[in-house]
Amino acid sequence: MFQVYLFLFLSCVALFSAIMVLLSKKPIHSVLYLTLTFFALAGHYILLNAQFLAVVHVIVYAGAIMVLFLFTVMLLNLNKEGQFSKTTLVKIIAVVAGGLLFVVLIGSLKSFDLATVSNPAVSQIGLVKNLGKTLFSQYLLPFELSSILFLSAMVGAVMLGKKDKE
């Protein structure tokens, strides 16, 4: 029962801060609420016994992506309120469309049999050892290709970021 309560608590935190990402006026508050969402999701990964993913999630999202977002907000001096706002009609239409999407996705569950074969509390697949075995045997080529992707992303970011000499 404790796990279910923990799940509900983490879900409420994640959903609340995700909504606050959209509602907060200042971009820097949005970024901080997004960080809170990411930490709640890291708790979800731990609850699923996926410890490797939890650690990677905290390092990548809370460590790297959040710093990038914060730097961009501060460099571009975007932290002003009420800079961008859409009309109320567009907001209502967007929320209705999103709600309909939610209803359709949940409604499609009715014709779907969710068979579970293992309990995440006792399964060992999320541990570093087992995940590493899969990653470095079955998925070795995608792993190496992702390093090339990172290299090209790094080169691209540096190329875009440098000042063009006129």
Partner: protein
């Protein structure tokens, strides 16, 4: 829900599906509502994360580690995407002094 393992107080998988769908919907609404390009990036991150959590949940409940490896790759791609996207955003801001997507519509027609 029929389970072949011993019932050790597990969270039903449908809870994860509902939670991830709600998170994904919030991301979709954010993309539709916001005009700030940075906020749209954050909403895209929310959607990516909900998909990630659902993949990890299914992989843990089906006892198949491929799903968690895919989550790892999605995180890699998301990190590269954010680095490039924010660099593009800075370039756009330098040239037009705004990141309002309603003003950045020169490629629209």
């Amino acid at each position: 829900m029929e389970t072949t393992v011993t019932q050790l107080q597990m969270i039903p998988l449908v809870y994860y599906i509902i939670f991830c769908t709600a998170l994904f919907t919030i991301g979709v609404v954010g993309v539709l509502v916001k005009r700030n390009a940075l906020a749209i990036f954050m909403s895209v991150e929310l959607m990516l994360n909900s998909a990630n959590l659902l993949l990890a949940a299914f992989s843990a409940y089906r006892n198949d580690s491929s799903g968690q490896v895919f989550v790892f790759f999605i995180m890699v791609v998301a990190a590269a995407e954010i680095a490039i996207g924010l660099a593009l955003l800075v370039v756009v801001y330098r040239s037009s002094r705004t990141i309002d997507i309603n003003i950045l519509n020169r490629l629209k027609w």
